[in-house]
C-alpha cells in the first residue's frame, strides 16, 4: 500500500524530516542544526524505547518513534530544560517520549487528505508487533550523535 501523499506539493523535500526538524528546533534544542539524517548502517538498539500514535480515518496508520532508553532520557532533559544533575524519573521519560510521538504524529496526520482521529500516545520498552509488509516509510535520524528512528505503518 502506498502512502497517498501528494509529493508534488513537497517539491523534493521530505515533509516528515521537516516535521521532525521543526519539533526539535522549536521545543527540544531551541535552535536548528542538532538534528540530521543518520549516515551509514543503522545499528540495533541495546535498551529500546518505543512511542507511537495511531491515526484512524480514511487512511489508518501508525507513527512509531524508536530509540535508546538513554536517548529518551536526554530528550526528556532537553525538552524540560533540566540541568545535568537534576534527577529524571522513568515516568517523566515515558511521558516526554510519548509527547514527542504525539507532536510528530499529529503533524504527519495533517499531511494526509481527509485526516482522521489521533489516538493517545503509547510508550513501551518492547517494539510493538509490526508486519514488514505494512511499512510505508522509514527515517533514521541523528540527534546529537544519537539514533532515533521514525517509521510509518499502515493499519489495515
Amino acid at each position: 500500500m502506498k502512502l497517498d501523499l501528494d509529493y508534488a506539493v513537497f517539491a523534493g523535500t521530505d515533509p516528515i524530516y521537516e516535521i521532525a526538524d521543526e519539533v526539535f528546533t522549536a521545543m527540544i534544542d531551541g535552535e536548528q542544526g542538532l538534528l540530521s539524517l543518520w549516515e551509514g548502517e543503522v545499528p540495533p538498539f541495546a535498551r529500546q524505547m518505543h512511542a507511537w500514535v495511531d491515526v484512524h480515518g480514511a487512511i489508518s496508520g501508525r507513527v512509531l518513534l524508536s530509540t535508546e532508553q538513554a536517548t529518551a532520557e536526554h530528550l526528556t532533559r532537553a525538552l524540560l530544560g533540566m540541568t545535568p544533575d537534576e534527577p529524571v524519573a522513568d515516568g517523566d521519560i515515558v511521558d516526554a517520549l510519548g509527547e514527542v510521538a504525539n507532536v510528530v504524529g499529529g503533524n504527519v496526520k495533517a499531511l494526509v487528505p481527509d485526516p482522521g482521529a489521533l489516538s493517545l500516545p503509547q510508550v513501551t520498552h518492547e517494539r510493538p508487533p509490526t508486519d514488514p509488509e505494512s511499512l510505508l516509510y522509514e527515517l533514521a535520524l541523528c540527534w546529537r550523535g544519537q539514533l532515533l528512528v521514525i517509521t510509518l505503518w499502515s493499519l489495515a
Binding site: L5, D6, V9, F10, P15, E18, I19, E22, T25, A26, G30, E31, G33, N107, A110, L111
Partner: protein, 278 residues
Amino acid sequence: MTLAPDTFAYVADLVRRRSALNLQSGKEYLVESRLLPLARAEGRDVDAYVRALRAAPHPTTLETVVEALTTNETSWFRDSQPFKALVDHVVPAVTSASAHLPLAARPPLRIWSAACSSGQEPYSIAMALADAVPLTQLRIIATDLSQRMVERGRAGRYSQLEVNRGLPAPMLVKHFSRAGAEWEVAAGLRNAVRFERHNLLDAPPVGGPFDVVFMRNVLIYFDLAAKREALARVRRVLKPGGYLLLGAAETTIGVDEAWDRVPVGGGSIYRLTPGRAA
C-alpha cells in the same frame, strides 16, 4: 556553558542601541544560542568571541551580532499598532479625496513594503486591509535586497513555526491553506503583492508614487548619512500627504525635517509635509 556577565551586558547594550531590542536578565541562553554558531565558525566559545569583538569592533561584525540576535523577529503584524494605524487612520486619510467616486473610478491604493524579508509584512498589510479595501484596489510592492527573500515572498509558503508567530488564528484560516507540512497564502492575496529585489540606496522601485511606505526596522542598521539618503529617496516616491511607517523605536526627528509626526494609538506615523516631496 554559562555566559560571563560582562559578555551578556556588552551584547545586550549593543543590541539595545542598534535595534531597540531589550534583552533583560534571564535571556543569557538566547545570546549564547544565537552567537554560538558565529563563535564556533571562529573556533571560539561565545565569551572569547565577544572578547575579540570588543577588542576590535569591526562594523560588519557588530552588525552580524545584532542581526543574529534580532532575526526570527519576522512575525506577522509585527508590533500590531502600525497595522491598526494603517486601517483606522492612514487609509481613510489617503482615500478621502476619492471616497465619493464610484469604485471603478477610484485610483488603487499603492503601498511599498521596503526591506520586506520573507514577506510577512506585505502579506500582513494585505490581510489588514482585506476587509476595508477590495483586493483589486490594492497594489503592494514588496522589496528586499536578497533574491532568496524575494523568491520566498513570491512563493507565499510558510512553515508551521512561522505561521505560529503573531498571526491571529482567524486570519490563518481565512487567508491560508495547507500545502504539505506548510501553509500557503491564498491566491487573491498573493496577487495583490508584487515582490522585487531592490536596494534602498538605489533608484526607487517601480509601482509608485505610493500612498504609504512601510520601512520598518531597517534604518537602525544605517548610519545617519545613509538614513537621510534613504528617507530622501522615499520622499521622492511618496504622494503629497503620503505616510511613512517606521519601526517602533525609530523616528525621522533629527534625521529629516520633511515629515510631520502624527501620534496614533501609542505610537507615531509620519506624514510627508506638503511641499516637501523632492
